[in-house]
Symmetry: C2
Subunit: 211 residues, 2 copies
DNA sequence: GGTATATACTAACGGGCGTTAGTTAGTACA
DNA sequence: TGTACTAACTAACGCCCGTTAGTATATACC
Protein backbone atom coordinates (compact mmCIF):
# COMPACT_ATOMS: atom_id res chain seq x y z
CA UNK A 1 0.00 0.00 0.00
CA UNK A 2 1.85 3.02 -1.26
CA UNK A 3 -1.13 5.23 -1.91
CA UNK A 4 -0.33 8.33 0.15
CA UNK A 5 -3.74 9.80 -0.57
CA UNK A 6 -5.43 6.95 1.22
CA UNK A 7 -6.18 9.03 4.29
CA UNK A 8 -7.92 11.60 2.14
CA UNK A 9 -10.39 9.29 0.49
CA UNK A 10 -13.69 9.23 2.34
CA UNK A 11 -14.82 5.98 0.76
CA UNK A 12 -12.20 4.11 2.72
CA UNK A 13 -13.41 2.16 5.71
CA UNK A 14 -12.40 3.78 8.96
CA UNK A 15 -9.93 1.92 11.08
CA UNK A 16 -11.25 1.44 14.58
CA UNK A 17 -7.78 2.01 16.03
CA UNK A 18 -7.41 5.47 14.47
CA UNK A 19 -10.87 6.58 15.51
CA UNK A 20 -10.26 7.04 19.20
CA UNK A 21 -12.86 4.42 20.05
CA UNK A 22 -12.58 2.20 23.10
CA UNK A 23 -11.48 -1.33 22.18
CA UNK A 24 -14.05 -4.05 21.89
CA UNK A 25 -14.09 -6.56 24.74
CA UNK A 26 -14.87 -10.23 24.85
CA UNK A 27 -18.02 -9.34 26.76
CA UNK A 28 -19.12 -7.08 23.90
CA UNK A 29 -18.74 -9.93 21.45
CA UNK A 30 -20.58 -12.34 23.73
CA UNK A 31 -23.40 -9.83 24.05
CA UNK A 32 -23.68 -9.27 20.32
CA UNK A 33 -23.62 -13.00 19.63
CA UNK A 34 -26.37 -13.48 22.19
CA UNK A 35 -28.62 -10.98 20.47
CA UNK A 36 -27.92 -12.29 16.99
CA UNK A 37 -28.28 -15.98 17.84
CA UNK A 38 -31.54 -15.32 19.69
CA UNK A 39 -32.88 -13.29 16.77
CA UNK A 40 -31.89 -15.36 13.79
CA UNK A 41 -30.53 -18.61 15.19
CA UNK A 42 -27.01 -20.00 15.19
CA UNK A 43 -26.93 -20.99 11.52
CA UNK A 44 -28.83 -17.87 10.57
CA UNK A 45 -26.08 -15.71 12.04
CA UNK A 46 -22.70 -15.19 10.41
CA UNK A 47 -19.57 -14.04 12.16
CA UNK A 48 -19.77 -11.00 9.94
CA UNK A 49 -23.15 -10.17 11.48
CA UNK A 50 -21.67 -10.32 14.95
CA UNK A 51 -18.57 -8.39 13.95
CA UNK A 52 -20.61 -5.62 12.37
CA UNK A 53 -22.77 -5.37 15.48
CA UNK A 54 -19.72 -4.49 17.55
CA UNK A 55 -18.04 -2.42 14.83
CA UNK A 56 -15.33 -4.85 13.77
CA UNK A 57 -14.34 -6.80 10.70
CA UNK A 58 -15.11 -10.51 10.97
CA UNK A 59 -11.53 -11.78 11.37
CA UNK A 60 -10.94 -9.37 14.25
CA UNK A 61 -13.38 -11.41 16.31
CA UNK A 62 -10.66 -14.00 16.64
CA UNK A 63 -8.87 -11.73 19.08
CA UNK A 64 -11.76 -12.46 21.44
CA UNK A 65 -13.12 -15.88 20.58
CA UNK A 66 -11.66 -19.18 19.52
CA UNK A 67 -14.44 -20.18 17.13
CA UNK A 68 -18.09 -19.67 16.37
CA UNK A 69 -18.95 -23.02 17.88
CA UNK A 70 -17.14 -22.08 21.06
CA UNK A 71 -19.19 -18.92 21.36
CA UNK A 72 -22.36 -20.99 21.21
CA UNK A 73 -21.19 -23.54 23.73
CA UNK A 74 -20.18 -20.80 26.14
CA UNK A 75 -23.66 -19.26 25.98
CA UNK A 76 -25.44 -22.58 26.30
CA UNK A 77 -23.37 -24.04 29.12
CA UNK A 78 -23.31 -20.80 31.13
CA UNK A 79 -27.06 -20.56 30.94
CA UNK A 80 -27.85 -24.18 31.64
CA UNK A 81 -25.66 -24.33 34.71
CA UNK A 82 -27.21 -21.18 36.13
CA UNK A 83 -30.71 -22.49 35.54
CA UNK A 84 -29.92 -25.81 37.13
CA UNK A 85 -28.29 -24.19 40.16
CA UNK A 86 -31.36 -21.98 40.59
CA UNK A 87 -33.57 -25.03 40.57
CA UNK A 88 -31.53 -26.84 43.19
CA UNK A 89 -31.45 -23.79 45.46
CA UNK A 90 -35.21 -23.35 45.11
CA UNK A 91 -35.89 -26.92 46.13
CA UNK A 92 -33.39 -26.85 48.98
CA UNK A 93 -35.00 -23.73 50.42
CA UNK A 94 -38.25 -25.50 51.23
CA UNK A 95 -39.34 -28.72 52.87
CA UNK A 96 -42.65 -29.54 51.19
CA UNK A 97 -43.54 -30.23 47.55
CA UNK A 98 -46.01 -27.36 47.26
CA UNK A 99 -43.52 -24.67 48.24
CA UNK A 100 -40.75 -26.42 46.33
CA UNK A 101 -42.75 -26.53 43.11
CA UNK A 102 -43.94 -22.97 43.55
CA UNK A 103 -40.40 -21.71 44.08
CA UNK A 104 -38.85 -23.88 41.36
CA UNK A 105 -41.42 -22.66 38.86
CA UNK A 106 -40.98 -19.08 40.01
CA UNK A 107 -37.21 -19.00 39.46
CA UNK A 108 -37.52 -20.93 36.19
CA UNK A 109 -40.12 -18.57 34.75
CA UNK A 110 -38.26 -15.58 36.13
CA UNK A 111 -35.04 -16.60 34.45
CA UNK A 112 -36.78 -16.95 31.13
CA UNK A 113 -38.19 -13.44 31.49
CA UNK A 114 -34.97 -11.82 32.64
CA UNK A 115 -32.64 -13.73 30.32
CA UNK A 116 -34.71 -14.03 27.20
CA UNK A 117 -31.88 -14.22 24.73
CA UNK A 118 -29.82 -16.75 26.65
CA UNK A 119 -32.72 -19.11 27.18
CA UNK A 120 -33.91 -18.81 23.60
CA UNK A 121 -30.47 -19.73 22.32
CA UNK A 122 -30.39 -22.72 24.65
CA UNK A 123 -33.73 -23.93 23.43
CA UNK A 124 -33.18 -23.31 19.76
CA UNK A 125 -29.52 -23.98 19.19
CA UNK A 126 -28.19 -26.28 21.88
CA UNK A 127 -28.82 -29.14 19.48
CA UNK A 128 -26.20 -27.69 17.14
CA UNK A 129 -23.43 -28.16 19.67
CA UNK A 130 -20.91 -30.88 18.98
CA UNK A 131 -18.71 -33.23 20.92
CA UNK A 132 -18.17 -32.70 24.62
CA UNK A 133 -20.18 -29.48 24.79
CA UNK A 134 -23.21 -31.28 23.42
CA UNK A 135 -22.86 -34.02 25.98
CA UNK A 136 -22.51 -31.58 28.84
CA UNK A 137 -25.58 -29.66 27.73
CA UNK A 138 -27.62 -32.83 27.33
CA UNK A 139 -26.51 -34.04 30.74
CA UNK A 140 -27.57 -30.85 32.47
CA UNK A 141 -30.87 -30.77 30.68
CA UNK A 142 -31.59 -34.39 31.50
CA UNK A 143 -30.75 -33.92 35.14
CA UNK A 144 -32.96 -30.88 35.45
CA UNK A 145 -35.77 -32.72 33.72
CA UNK A 146 -35.39 -35.78 35.92
CA UNK A 147 -35.31 -33.79 39.17
CA UNK A 148 -38.25 -31.64 38.19
CA UNK A 149 -40.32 -34.67 37.36
CA UNK A 150 -39.27 -36.42 40.53
CA UNK A 151 -40.42 -33.45 42.57
CA UNK A 152 -43.85 -33.73 41.03
CA UNK A 153 -43.98 -37.52 41.24
CA UNK A 154 -43.13 -37.40 44.95
CA UNK A 155 -45.75 -34.71 45.50
CA UNK A 156 -48.37 -36.91 43.88
CA UNK A 157 -47.29 -39.99 45.78
CA UNK A 158 -47.51 -38.16 49.09
CA UNK A 159 -50.90 -36.68 48.33
CA UNK A 160 -49.88 -33.05 47.88
CA UNK A 161 -50.68 -33.05 44.16
CA UNK A 162 -53.41 -34.65 42.09
CA UNK A 163 -52.42 -35.50 38.55
CA UNK A 164 -52.61 -38.63 36.38
CA UNK A 165 -49.09 -38.23 34.97
CA UNK A 166 -45.95 -36.73 36.52
CA UNK A 167 -44.36 -36.84 33.11
CA UNK A 168 -47.03 -34.75 31.42
CA UNK A 169 -47.42 -32.35 34.32
CA UNK A 170 -43.68 -31.80 34.40
CA UNK A 171 -43.43 -31.17 30.67
CA UNK A 172 -46.39 -28.83 30.71
CA UNK A 173 -45.09 -26.73 33.59
CA UNK A 174 -41.53 -26.55 32.40
CA UNK A 175 -42.36 -25.77 28.82
CA UNK A 176 -44.86 -23.06 29.61
CA UNK A 177 -42.07 -21.35 31.55
CA UNK A 178 -39.60 -21.80 28.72
CA UNK A 179 -41.93 -20.08 26.32
CA UNK A 180 -42.01 -16.93 28.43
CA UNK A 181 -38.76 -16.06 26.69
CA UNK A 182 -40.60 -16.06 23.38
CA UNK A 183 -43.19 -13.41 24.19
CA UNK A 184 -41.98 -11.45 27.20
CA UNK A 185 -40.86 -7.88 26.62
CA UNK A 186 -39.43 -5.56 29.21
CA UNK A 187 -41.31 -2.53 28.00
CA UNK A 188 -44.66 -4.19 28.58
CA UNK A 189 -46.90 -3.61 31.57
CA UNK A 190 -45.80 -6.77 33.31
CA UNK A 191 -42.65 -7.08 35.39
CA UNK A 192 -40.69 -10.34 35.31
CA UNK A 193 -41.66 -10.95 38.94
CA UNK A 194 -45.35 -10.59 38.10
CA UNK A 195 -45.09 -13.15 35.34
CA UNK A 196 -43.10 -15.52 37.52
CA UNK A 197 -45.63 -15.30 40.34
CA UNK A 198 -48.54 -15.99 38.02
CA UNK A 199 -46.72 -18.90 36.41
CA UNK A 200 -45.90 -20.38 39.79
CA UNK A 201 -49.56 -20.38 40.71
CA UNK A 202 -50.48 -21.80 37.31
CA UNK A 203 -48.06 -24.63 37.98
CA UNK A 204 -49.79 -25.42 41.24
CA UNK A 205 -53.15 -25.37 39.50
CA UNK A 206 -51.85 -27.82 36.90
CA UNK A 207 -51.07 -30.32 39.65
CA UNK A 208 -54.37 -29.70 41.32
CA UNK A 209 -53.38 -27.36 44.13
CA UNK A 210 -55.88 -24.53 44.61
CA UNK A 211 -55.02 -21.82 47.10
CA UNK B 1 -17.65 -38.14 -21.98
CA UNK B 2 -16.15 -40.65 -24.39
CA UNK B 3 -15.07 -43.21 -21.83
CA UNK B 4 -16.70 -46.42 -23.09
CA UNK B 5 -15.64 -48.28 -19.97
CA UNK B 6 -17.71 -46.01 -17.82
CA UNK B 7 -20.45 -48.55 -17.34
CA UNK B 8 -17.92 -51.07 -16.10
CA UNK B 9 -16.44 -48.98 -13.32
CA UNK B 10 -18.16 -49.68 -10.01
CA UNK B 11 -16.98 -46.40 -8.47
CA UNK B 12 -19.32 -44.48 -10.73
CA UNK B 13 -22.47 -43.16 -9.14
CA UNK B 14 -25.54 -45.07 -10.25
CA UNK B 15 -28.10 -43.23 -12.28
CA UNK B 16 -31.53 -43.47 -10.73
CA UNK B 17 -33.14 -43.76 -14.13
CA UNK B 18 -31.14 -46.87 -15.08
CA UNK B 19 -31.77 -48.59 -11.78
CA UNK B 20 -35.40 -49.50 -12.26
CA UNK B 21 -36.44 -47.39 -9.28
CA UNK B 22 -39.76 -45.60 -9.08
CA UNK B 23 -39.40 -41.88 -9.74
CA UNK B 24 -39.30 -39.48 -6.83
CA UNK B 25 -42.46 -37.44 -6.31
CA UNK B 26 -43.02 -33.95 -4.99
CA UNK B 27 -44.58 -35.51 -1.92
CA UNK B 28 -41.39 -37.48 -1.29
CA UNK B 29 -39.36 -34.29 -1.35
CA UNK B 30 -41.84 -32.50 0.92
CA UNK B 31 -41.62 -35.39 3.35
CA UNK B 32 -37.83 -35.45 3.38
CA UNK B 33 -37.66 -31.70 3.83
CA UNK B 34 -40.08 -31.92 6.73
CA UNK B 35 -37.92 -34.45 8.52
CA UNK B 36 -34.70 -32.59 7.87
CA UNK B 37 -36.00 -29.14 8.79
CA UNK B 38 -37.52 -30.48 11.99
CA UNK B 39 -34.29 -32.25 12.89
CA UNK B 40 -31.67 -29.68 12.09
CA UNK B 41 -33.55 -26.49 11.27
CA UNK B 42 -33.96 -24.67 7.97
CA UNK B 43 -30.48 -23.17 7.85
CA UNK B 44 -29.01 -26.36 9.27
CA UNK B 45 -30.36 -28.30 6.31
CA UNK B 46 -28.89 -28.12 2.81
CA UNK B 47 -30.67 -29.08 -0.36
CA UNK B 48 -28.04 -31.77 -0.71
CA UNK B 49 -29.25 -33.27 2.58
CA UNK B 50 -32.79 -33.40 1.29
CA UNK B 51 -31.74 -34.73 -2.09
CA UNK B 52 -29.69 -37.51 -0.55
CA UNK B 53 -32.60 -38.47 1.70
CA UNK B 54 -34.73 -39.22 -1.37
CA UNK B 55 -31.84 -40.62 -3.42
CA UNK B 56 -31.30 -37.72 -5.81
CA UNK B 57 -28.59 -35.25 -6.65
CA UNK B 58 -29.30 -31.75 -5.35
CA UNK B 59 -30.09 -30.07 -8.69
CA UNK B 60 -32.66 -32.77 -9.49
CA UNK B 61 -34.80 -31.40 -6.70
CA UNK B 62 -35.65 -28.53 -9.00
CA UNK B 63 -37.85 -30.88 -10.99
CA UNK B 64 -40.13 -30.88 -7.94
CA UNK B 65 -39.65 -27.59 -6.13
CA UNK B 66 -39.12 -23.99 -7.14
CA UNK B 67 -36.72 -23.06 -4.34
CA UNK B 68 -35.66 -23.95 -0.84
CA UNK B 69 -37.54 -20.98 0.56
CA UNK B 70 -40.68 -22.10 -1.21
CA UNK B 71 -40.41 -25.53 0.36
CA UNK B 72 -40.34 -23.91 3.78
CA UNK B 73 -43.25 -21.60 3.11
CA UNK B 74 -45.35 -24.47 1.83
CA UNK B 75 -44.77 -26.42 5.02
CA UNK B 76 -45.41 -23.46 7.28
CA UNK B 77 -48.52 -22.13 5.57
CA UNK B 78 -50.09 -25.57 5.13
CA UNK B 79 -49.64 -26.28 8.81
CA UNK B 80 -50.76 -22.93 10.12
CA UNK B 81 -53.95 -22.92 8.13
CA UNK B 82 -54.86 -26.42 9.28
CA UNK B 83 -54.21 -25.52 12.89
CA UNK B 84 -56.27 -22.38 12.65
CA UNK B 85 -59.16 -24.18 10.94
CA UNK B 86 -59.11 -26.82 13.70
CA UNK B 87 -59.35 -24.09 16.30
CA UNK B 88 -62.32 -22.42 14.65
CA UNK B 89 -64.15 -25.72 14.26
CA UNK B 90 -63.53 -26.59 17.89
CA UNK B 91 -64.95 -23.31 19.11
CA UNK B 92 -67.92 -23.46 16.76
CA UNK B 93 -68.83 -26.93 17.99
CA UNK B 94 -69.66 -25.73 21.50
CA UNK B 95 -71.63 -22.95 23.09
CA UNK B 96 -69.89 -22.34 26.41
CA UNK B 97 -66.31 -21.28 27.23
CA UNK B 98 -65.49 -24.37 29.25
CA UNK B 99 -66.25 -26.82 26.46
CA UNK B 100 -64.78 -24.48 23.88
CA UNK B 101 -61.48 -24.19 25.72
CA UNK B 102 -61.37 -27.90 26.40
CA UNK B 103 -61.96 -28.72 22.77
CA UNK B 104 -59.66 -26.03 21.42
CA UNK B 105 -56.85 -27.23 23.67
CA UNK B 106 -57.54 -30.83 22.79
CA UNK B 107 -57.23 -30.33 19.04
CA UNK B 108 -54.23 -28.04 19.44
CA UNK B 109 -52.31 -30.49 21.63
CA UNK B 110 -53.43 -33.37 19.43
CA UNK B 111 -52.11 -31.73 16.30
CA UNK B 112 -48.73 -31.14 17.95
CA UNK B 113 -48.55 -34.82 18.86
CA UNK B 114 -49.69 -36.16 15.49
CA UNK B 115 -47.78 -33.65 13.35
CA UNK B 116 -44.60 -33.19 15.30
CA UNK B 117 -42.35 -32.29 12.41
CA UNK B 118 -44.72 -29.81 10.82
CA UNK B 119 -45.36 -27.94 14.04
CA UNK B 120 -41.70 -27.91 15.01
CA UNK B 121 -40.78 -26.36 11.69
CA UNK B 122 -43.48 -23.74 12.13
CA UNK B 123 -42.21 -22.84 15.56
CA UNK B 124 -38.54 -22.87 14.75
CA UNK B 125 -38.29 -21.65 11.20
CA UNK B 126 -41.34 -19.58 10.33
CA UNK B 127 -39.29 -16.52 11.25
CA UNK B 128 -36.96 -17.28 8.35
CA UNK B 129 -39.69 -16.79 5.79
CA UNK B 130 -39.53 -13.68 3.66
CA UNK B 131 -41.89 -11.36 1.87
CA UNK B 132 -45.53 -12.31 1.45
CA UNK B 133 -45.14 -15.78 2.98
CA UNK B 134 -43.82 -14.22 6.16
CA UNK B 135 -46.74 -11.83 6.34
CA UNK B 136 -49.28 -14.59 5.76
CA UNK B 137 -47.73 -16.71 8.48
CA UNK B 138 -47.62 -13.82 10.92
CA UNK B 139 -51.23 -12.95 10.16
CA UNK B 140 -52.46 -16.46 10.81
CA UNK B 141 -50.47 -16.74 13.99
CA UNK B 142 -51.72 -13.39 15.26
CA UNK B 143 -55.32 -14.25 14.51
CA UNK B 144 -55.10 -17.56 16.29
CA UNK B 145 -53.43 -15.90 19.24
CA UNK B 146 -56.07 -13.15 19.40
CA UNK B 147 -59.00 -15.54 19.19
CA UNK B 148 -57.57 -17.90 21.75
CA UNK B 149 -57.00 -15.06 24.18
CA UNK B 150 -60.46 -13.66 23.54
CA UNK B 151 -62.00 -17.01 24.35
CA UNK B 152 -60.28 -16.96 27.72
CA UNK B 153 -60.98 -13.29 28.38
CA UNK B 154 -64.68 -13.81 27.71
CA UNK B 155 -64.71 -16.87 29.94
CA UNK B 156 -63.22 -14.82 32.76
CA UNK B 157 -65.59 -11.92 32.22
CA UNK B 158 -68.59 -14.21 32.33
CA UNK B 159 -67.45 -16.00 35.43
CA UNK B 160 -66.58 -19.37 33.90
CA UNK B 161 -62.85 -18.96 34.53
CA UNK B 162 -60.83 -17.47 37.35
CA UNK B 163 -57.50 -16.02 36.32
CA UNK B 164 -55.76 -12.66 36.84
CA UNK B 165 -54.53 -12.38 33.25
CA UNK B 166 -56.08 -13.67 30.01
CA UNK B 167 -52.81 -12.89 28.28
CA UNK B 168 -50.70 -15.05 30.57
CA UNK B 169 -53.24 -17.85 30.75
CA UNK B 170 -53.49 -17.92 26.99
CA UNK B 171 -49.73 -17.98 26.47
CA UNK B 172 -49.28 -20.68 29.08
CA UNK B 173 -51.93 -22.96 27.64
CA UNK B 174 -50.97 -22.51 24.02
CA UNK B 175 -47.26 -22.90 24.59
CA UNK B 176 -47.54 -25.99 26.72
CA UNK B 177 -49.41 -27.57 23.80
CA UNK B 178 -46.81 -26.41 21.30
CA UNK B 179 -44.07 -28.08 23.25
CA UNK B 180 -45.74 -31.47 22.97
CA UNK B 181 -44.09 -31.65 19.56
CA UNK B 182 -40.72 -31.46 21.23
CA UNK B 183 -40.99 -34.49 23.47
CA UNK B 184 -43.78 -36.68 22.13
CA UNK B 185 -42.83 -39.96 20.50
CA UNK B 186 -45.18 -42.40 18.89
CA UNK B 187 -43.48 -45.47 20.25
CA UNK B 188 -44.04 -44.34 23.84
CA UNK B 189 -46.75 -45.64 26.13
CA UNK B 190 -48.99 -42.61 25.55
CA UNK B 191 -51.27 -42.17 22.58
CA UNK B 192 -51.76 -38.71 21.07
CA UNK B 193 -55.35 -38.75 22.29
CA UNK B 194 -54.25 -39.46 25.87
CA UNK B 195 -51.88 -36.54 25.82
CA UNK B 196 -54.47 -34.25 24.28
CA UNK B 197 -57.06 -35.19 26.88
CA UNK B 198 -54.69 -34.58 29.74
CA UNK B 199 -53.59 -31.26 28.28
CA UNK B 200 -57.18 -30.17 27.85
CA UNK B 201 -57.85 -30.77 31.50
CA UNK B 202 -54.61 -29.03 32.45
CA UNK B 203 -55.80 -26.03 30.47
CA UNK B 204 -59.02 -25.93 32.44
CA UNK B 205 -57.08 -26.18 35.68
CA UNK B 206 -54.91 -23.24 34.63
CA UNK B 207 -58.01 -21.08 34.32
CA UNK B 208 -59.38 -22.33 37.60
CA UNK B 209 -61.91 -24.90 36.40
CA UNK B 210 -61.86 -28.05 38.52
CA UNK B 211 -64.00 -30.99 37.38
C1' DG C 1 12.83 6.21 23.53
C1' DG C 2 12.53 1.26 22.76
C1' DT C 3 10.09 -2.84 23.14
C1' DA C 4 6.31 -6.01 24.00
C1' DT C 5 1.56 -6.78 23.84
C1' DA C 6 -3.12 -6.33 22.66
C1' DT C 7 -6.15 -5.18 19.17
C1' DA C 8 -7.24 -4.08 14.83
C1' DC C 9 -6.83 -4.46 9.68
C1' DT C 10 -6.52 -6.59 4.70
C1' DA C 11 -5.90 -10.50 1.83
C1' DA C 12 -6.81 -14.88 0.87
C1' DC C 13 -8.01 -19.89 1.23
C1' DG C 14 -10.77 -23.92 0.88
C1' DG C 15 -15.18 -25.33 0.95
C1' DG C 16 -20.17 -25.45 0.86
C1' DC C 17 -24.21 -23.16 -0.54
C1' DG C 18 -28.49 -22.47 -3.70
C1' DT C 19 -29.23 -22.30 -8.25
C1' DT C 20 -28.89 -22.42 -13.53
C1' DA C 21 -27.57 -24.47 -17.93
C1' DG C 22 -27.16 -28.04 -20.80
C1' DT C 23 -27.51 -32.94 -21.57
C1' DT C 24 -29.24 -37.77 -21.32
C1' DA C 25 -32.24 -41.68 -20.21
C1' DG C 26 -36.66 -43.64 -20.01
C1' DT C 27 -41.82 -43.34 -21.12
C1' DA C 28 -46.17 -42.29 -23.45
C1' DC C 29 -48.35 -41.57 -27.47
C1' DA C 30 -48.97 -40.18 -32.53
C1' DT D 1 -40.78 -45.15 -35.64
C1' DG D 2 -40.64 -40.57 -34.42
C1' DT D 3 -41.74 -37.03 -31.16
C1' DA D 4 -42.73 -34.81 -26.88
C1' DC D 5 -42.32 -34.91 -22.11
C1' DT D 6 -40.73 -36.02 -17.54
C1' DA D 7 -37.20 -36.77 -14.51
C1' DA D 8 -32.75 -37.62 -13.85
C1' DC D 9 -27.70 -36.38 -14.46
C1' DT D 10 -23.06 -33.50 -14.63
C1' DA D 11 -20.79 -29.16 -14.82
C1' DA D 12 -20.37 -24.87 -13.36
C1' DC D 13 -21.43 -20.14 -11.51
C1' DG D 14 -21.33 -16.60 -8.11
C1' DC D 15 -21.59 -15.94 -3.47
C1' DC D 16 -20.89 -16.31 1.32
C1' DC D 17 -18.95 -18.88 5.02
C1' DG D 18 -15.51 -19.70 8.95
C1' DT D 19 -10.93 -19.35 9.47
C1' DT D 20 -5.75 -18.38 8.94
C1' DA D 21 -1.75 -15.58 7.73
C1' DG D 22 0.52 -11.63 7.71
C1' DT D 23 0.76 -6.77 8.85
C1' DA D 24 -0.15 -2.25 11.04
C1' DT D 25 -1.47 0.74 14.93
C1' DA D 26 -2.00 2.19 19.55
C1' DT D 27 -0.83 1.51 24.36
C1' DA D 28 1.78 0.07 28.53
C1' DC D 29 5.88 -0.54 30.61
C1' DC D 30 11.02 -0.62 30.96
Amino acid sequence: MKDVSANLRPTRRIDRRSAGVAPVTGADVYEAALTAFADRGYFGTSLKDIANAVGLQAPSLYNHISSKADLLSEIVLDTLSTVFADFEAAVAAHDNPVDQLREATYVYALHHATHRRETMVVNQDARHLEGKSLEQAQDMRRTHERDFRRLIADGIKDGYFQHPSPKLASFAIREMCVSVARWFHDQGDLKPEDVARTYASQALRVVGVTP
